[in-house]
């Protein structure tokens, strides 16, 4: 397998002086293309901070981060924005959909913002993704009219819209009941198997973690297992 990304000696400190809090303490990690990894660890262990850095939404205090052969630390905001749009998808715990838009409009957002408009091809792919998520009947529904599980499936479809190499999911099932959670995980697993998309899923739930082929345990700012 080839390395999709590799981080070395990541340090992240919030605040300065006496109020400084070091969350990551020299964390190193390598993720192969096509992996489906669960990120485990207690609250405050640095899971969310690691996902944020891997998602290029934040830079570490020090350390290196290379993804698809590109140096993510040296890249400027404009380059990272374009990279994120093309190669990284996000699924958040609270789905974080755009409330004034329909399910389809939410899904096609990453492509539309790249192309400057909603193309018919983008809409067709959005419909296809929502159908695969079991939401064929909800395509044009305002997201406010969807259930929690449906919203999270819309979020997964949106994360996959630009066919990213990496999808980062921060507690994607944390706000769902067991049945909905397993339904979302089944979809993620299916996408991972069929399209080879790499997933890194942060979770506290052992059952969710068990669905993933690799478990990465973070503790006290470093990978412990």
């Amino acid at each position: 397998m080839t390395a999709l990304l590799e981080v070395s000696d990541l340090i992240k400190t919030y605040g300065t002086g006496e109020a400084a809090t070091r969350v990551l303490r020299g964390l190193s990690l390598r993720l192969e293309a096509g992996e489906m990894a669960a990120l485990l660890g207690p609250s405050g262990s640095g899971k969310s901070t690691l996902l944020t850095i891997l998602g290029t939404l934040m830079k570490p205090t020090s350390g290196s981060y290379v993804m698809l052969g590109q140096d993510m630390i040296a890249a400027d905001d404009r380059a990272l924005t374009g990279f994120r749009n093309a190669h990284i998808g996000f699924v958040f715990q609270f789905h974080n959909l755009l409330p004034d838009f329909t399910a389809l409009e939410n899904v096609v957002f990453p492509t539309a913002v790249r192309d400057g408009r909603e193309t018919p091809a983008a809409r067709a792919r959005g419909r296809d993704l929502l159908t695969r998520m079991g939401l064929a009947e909800r395509i044009d529904f305002p997201t406010a009219n969807l259930s929690g599980g449906q919203k999270q499936r819309v979020a997964v479809a949106r994360a996959l819209m630009n066919s990213p190499e990496l999808v980062l999911a921060d507690e994607p099932t944390g706000n769902l009941d067991r049945a909905s959670a397993m339904q979302v995980m089944d979809l993620i697993g299916q996408i991972n198997r069929e399209e080879g998309t790499t997933f890194m899923i942060s979770t506290h739930d052992e059952k969710i973690a068990a669905v993933c082929r690799r478990q990465i345990v973070v503790g006290d700012g470093v990978v412990t297992g």
Binding site: G55, L57, R84, F90, P99, F109, G116
Partner: protein, 401 residues
């Protein structure tokens, strides 16, 4: 940036009540802008028409000759022929210039005149008067004499005279009476009172008389030429430029009404400045209103902005979304305010029908296009601060909210 336009439009339509309030606020500002433009413009028109409307907009007077001197070969002044007290200079070539002046663009009427002073006598009563000889048929070319007639007829035939109401009252005159008019040149004529006018201006109504040009020639012993040419323009504001043109065309000393009207011009300028201030305040209100509303929107939509940024929307995209919202609010409010302003001004009388006691609103001076353009520009400027604030939103903290 079609997609940014869609997002901006959706944000505005998502909260219809808030957007409607915001647009209405902008429209009120534009309405005030238009109302003030029409009022200040109309007021200026009203003042000008009342003060200058009955005056000549451009006057050409014969230049008085310098004193004539007879000088000996040794350089001694032998004879000095001083100027007479009364005007005797004439525009002897007036007949040649009149067609040329009439052809100048913007010239509405031209009135060649012979003016002078005299004494009007009826019985034992005498009054000092100014005499204006005008061509029959051009009695109302400058002063709207026909419009001011209260008795008799404005038509100035041979042997007829028209006087002001106050003068007629002073001398107890009535239509058809015979009067004696003796000019400053000592020539007297018996004239029949053909009409009485009342302009409301005491100086005119109490001392001004009108006779035909031929009668004036006799009275002032002026067989040819005139003493002055009065010119009326379609647009009195074009007097300066037209006077320059006539001077260049004829070489005559054409003087616009603005010469010697500095105080009036200063007053009108001060009034216009007041209008600018009021309109500026209206625009500032619009800018503050739009900026505060969009800042509030930016704060409310921070999580969504964070999501957009996470999904690959650049800072420029976010800026464009919010600036477009500002532009749309400005455009909608501007158009709405302009329409409301126009409708509100419709019931007011037109500029040609201004009357004392009513607001002299000039619907044609509403500056509708300017109001809409300035509003859109103001709204765009107002949205830059919120847009920049939105673009600076940290996606990590915003998504976590």
């Amino acid at each position: 940036m079609l997609y940014a336009l869609k997002i901006a439009t959706r944000y505005l339509t998502a909260n219809k009540a808030q957007t409607a309030l915001l647009v209405t606020g902008v429209a009120v500002g534009v309405f005030i802008f238009i109302f003030m433009s029409a009022l200040i413009g109309g007021l200026a028109e009203f003042i000008l028409s009342r003060t200058v409307g009955d005056l000549s907009h451009i006057t050409i007077e014969a230049e008085t000759d310098d004193p004539s001197l007879l000088i000996s070969p040794e350089g001694h002044v032998l004879v000095v022929a001083e100027r007479g007290r009364m005007r005797t200079a004439t525009l002897s070539e007036a007949a040649t210039w009149l067609p040329l002046i009439e052809a100048v663009p913007g010239v509405r009427a031209v009135s060649p005149q012979i003016t002078g002073a005299g004494f009007l006598t009826r019985g034992a009563q005498t009054a000092q008067v100014s005499v204006t000889g005008v061509e029959p048929g051009r009695e109302s070319a400058i002063l709207d004499l026909a419009g001011y007639m209260v008795e008799g007829d404005v038509r100035l035939g041979s042997g007829l005279i028209v006087v002001g109401r106050d003068l007629a009252d002073d001398l107890a005159l009535s239509i058809g009476q015979t009067l004696r008019l003796e000019s400053s040149d000592g020539v007297a004529a018996a004239l029949t009172l053909g009409g009485i006018f009342k302009t409301g201006n005491g100086a005119i109504d109490g001392a001004r008389t009108f006779v035909s040009l031929s009668t004036a020639r006799t009275l002032f012993t002026m067989p040819q030429g005139v003493t002055r040419i009065e010119i009326k323009l379609g647009d009195l504001n074009a007097a300066d430029a037209t006077a320059v043109r006539i001077r260049a065309l004829t070489g005559l000393d054409a003087v616009p009404w603005t010469d010697g009207a500095e105080q009036l011009m200063e007053a009108l300028d001060a009034q216009a400045q007041t209008g600018y201030f009021l309109k500026t305040f209206a625009l500032i209100t619009i800018v503050i209103g739009v900026a505060s509303a969009l800042l509030l929107s930016t704060y409310r939509r921070r999580p969504e902005i964070g999501i957009m940024r996470a999904m690959g929307a650049g800072r420029g995209f976010v800026v464009f979304v919010f600036v477009t919202q500002g532009a749309l609010i400005g455009l909608l409010g501007g158009i709405m305010g302009a329409v409301l302003g126009y409708l509100a001004l419709l019931p007011f009388p037109s500029r040609d029908a201004f009357e004392a006691g009513t607001l002299p609103m000039d619907i044609t001076q509403g500056s509708y296009g300017l109001a809409i353009t300035l509003t859109v520009i103001g709204a765009i400027l107002a949205s830059i601060l919120p847009a920049r604030a939105a673009a600076r939103v940290d996606p990590v903290t915003a998504i976590g909210q």
